[in-house]
Symmetry: C2
Subunit: 335 residues, 2 copies
DNA sequence: CTGTTAGCGCGTTCAT
DNA sequence: ATGAACGCGCTAACAG
């Protein structure tokens, strides 16, 4: 149905080579230029990318794999990645791994079979084996948000440990001592944030209680259950560090559910400054990740490799975070 | 770099046709089957989809265009669409139109140039011209959530007018009379919901005040500003109908900001039951759209056309909605 | 069941 | 500046 370059030949009487050359930015006689343009318009000609990429080995398309498409965190990254790619003339093939390493691996192969020029991934798997097929086919990969040891890929991330430390120190500076953590030990970022929490406590000379450290999955449910547990125990913490976005959601739901007030009864600090932090009352102080920079930097690193084929050593870009203003932390006066 | 079917030939001594046939599910001698499988494993062979689709005219890939990738509404639909497509053996190419009709049109052409087998779109444009390129190339399109006149496409949606009416009637049944609307007149769904609001009011014999009808864009900002205006006016409404998700977010932020309590000072009912409605306090009663069904039905309709090429008349599927439980509506006793 | 051949739509030599 | 011929990797027809 769709017209091909041969239809343009019939229409113009020119050869395939001439037409192809013009369409790819080459020089042709003005009269031929006009003929070709007229034919293109008339026949609604659009190059067949499959055929083109079969010969050029390029698709001007990059693959993006996220661990969950309906998470606002991923959606926000995708927005910036997509905008930057479009700006550079690239299309984007998005895959949702649905929190499953099996699907993630399939996505990797799917993208490769589609001959993407490069891949940006917010990975679930912590196994470098995931990247072997891409390495074999020499398709560059950039890790976003989460680092994977020995992956041999460029990576854009924040310093999770330091950021978590900053958050907990903020609570400490406001006079809090009994500080709980609801976090995740299921992925890289979660474990780094856990370390940051421990370091902040230790440096301040504060003891940590096992019952105040709730580690689990990166999920609303885990946030909800953990907060309920914390607030129902004999010893309530003064403050809680909610180590990611979904946990903030679940934690706040639990407080509402229990009729516990923030910051009167408990102070909160969160991680990931997405819209909900401003919609709930009081607004929650959070660690802010530079989402736009993260997405854009990932694209830049990737296209550098794609276009320049520089085989330099993997780069690791660490972006800085800051704390947002919020009203979720009370001040405790100490003598 | 990547191995091709010819490498398999070298490895096995078989002909291209035999190998190809086996790889596509055909029958070959057991011994050959073993040979081929061994070679595939050894060489990490993966079919080149570009070459394959060049001859089959099929890509087993469908395009999905959403108006904004970082909206939870779209993300949720994408999750269900993606899962269903994978279940049916299809991949998905997602495009973000960033709320721009220009980008939307480019996305349409981008997908077509990638030879997708079909397209699912949550459209921004209300111009049937958007669909002409797809129609010309005989690529089926399914509209999701928003209908476009004369588009000649299948459509999956809810009855926005009736749903809005149901929401407003709920408020009326709880004794409310002075009911405001914060909604959108920028797209199809917004206008339908506006109509539903008007009908509900009229059927109940209630007057509507112009100052209580706030129409604008589908955005947090519009929700925020409108709610501020409503609550600062001389006449405050008893209740407000927040006609979409972003408007709920903005509206609730404004109430928090003004220290206006819900449902004591004002009752709320919303549209779109996404997570935030449960995180804020009180939880908000909303019209619930069957997101999973919507996504899955869209995929089914599309693949029916793709695989069966049934040229029947366009179908319009209208799914039913319901109200969620919430605590955002007070009861006003009337004598 | 297997192998030979042709061709999908395009970019790219190499002549002219 | 132009055109004829070839090949990218694969599937489909046909003959064996």
């Amino acid at each position: 149905m769709a017209s091909t370059i041969k239809d343009i030949r019939k229409e113009t009487g020119l050869s395939l080579a001439t037409i192809s050359k013009y369409l790819n930015g080459g020089n042709v006689l003005p009269e031929n230029r006009i003929k070709i343009e007229a034919a293109v318009k008339k026949l609604h000609y659009e190059a067949n990318e499959a055929a083109r990429s079969l010969v050029t080995k390029k698709t001007r398309t990059v693959g993006v794999i996220v661990y969950e498409i309906d998470s606002v965190f991923n959606g926000t990254l995708l927005k910036y990645i997509g905008a930057k790619l479009r700006e550079r003339g690239y299309g984007m093939l998005i895959c949702d791994s649905c929190q499953s390493v099996e699907i993630e691996e399939k996505n990797m192969n799917f993208l490769l079979s589609k001959n993407v020029d490069g891949i940006i991934i917010v990975p679930i798997s912590e196994d470098e084996g995931l990247f072997e097929p891409a390495r074999r086919e020499d398709v560059p990969v950039v890790l976003l948000d989460r680092y994977v040891n020995n992956s041999d890929c460029d990576c854009v991330k924040i310093d999770n440990k330091a950021s978590a430390k900053m958050a907990v120190k903020k609570l400490i500076s406001m006079g809090h001592r009994e500080i709980a953590l609801i976090g995740s030990d299921a992925e890289f970022t979660g474990r780094e944030r856990h370390k940051g929490y421990l370091e902040a406590m230790e440096e301040a000379g504060l003891d940590t209680r096992d019952e105040f450290i709730c580690l689990g999955r990166h999920s609303i449910e885990h946030g909800f259950n953990s907060m309920k547990k914390l607030m129902s125990g004999k010893n309530r913490p003064d403050a809680v560090f909610l180590a990611n976005y979904d946990i903030i959601l679940g934690g706040v739901m639990a407080l509402n559910n229990l009729q516990v007030s923030c910051p009167e009864d408990v102070s909160l600090i969160g991680f990931d400054d997405l819209i909900v932090s401003h919609v709930v009352k009081p607004s929650i102080t959070t660690v802010v990740q530079p989402m736009k920079q993260m997405g854009e930097k990932a694209v830049e690193l990737l296209l550098d490799r794609v276009e320049n084929k520089n085989a330099e050593e993997p780069v690791q870009v660490v972006l800085t975070t800051r704390l947002s203003r919020g009203d979720s932390i009370s001040e405790i006066k100490r003598k």
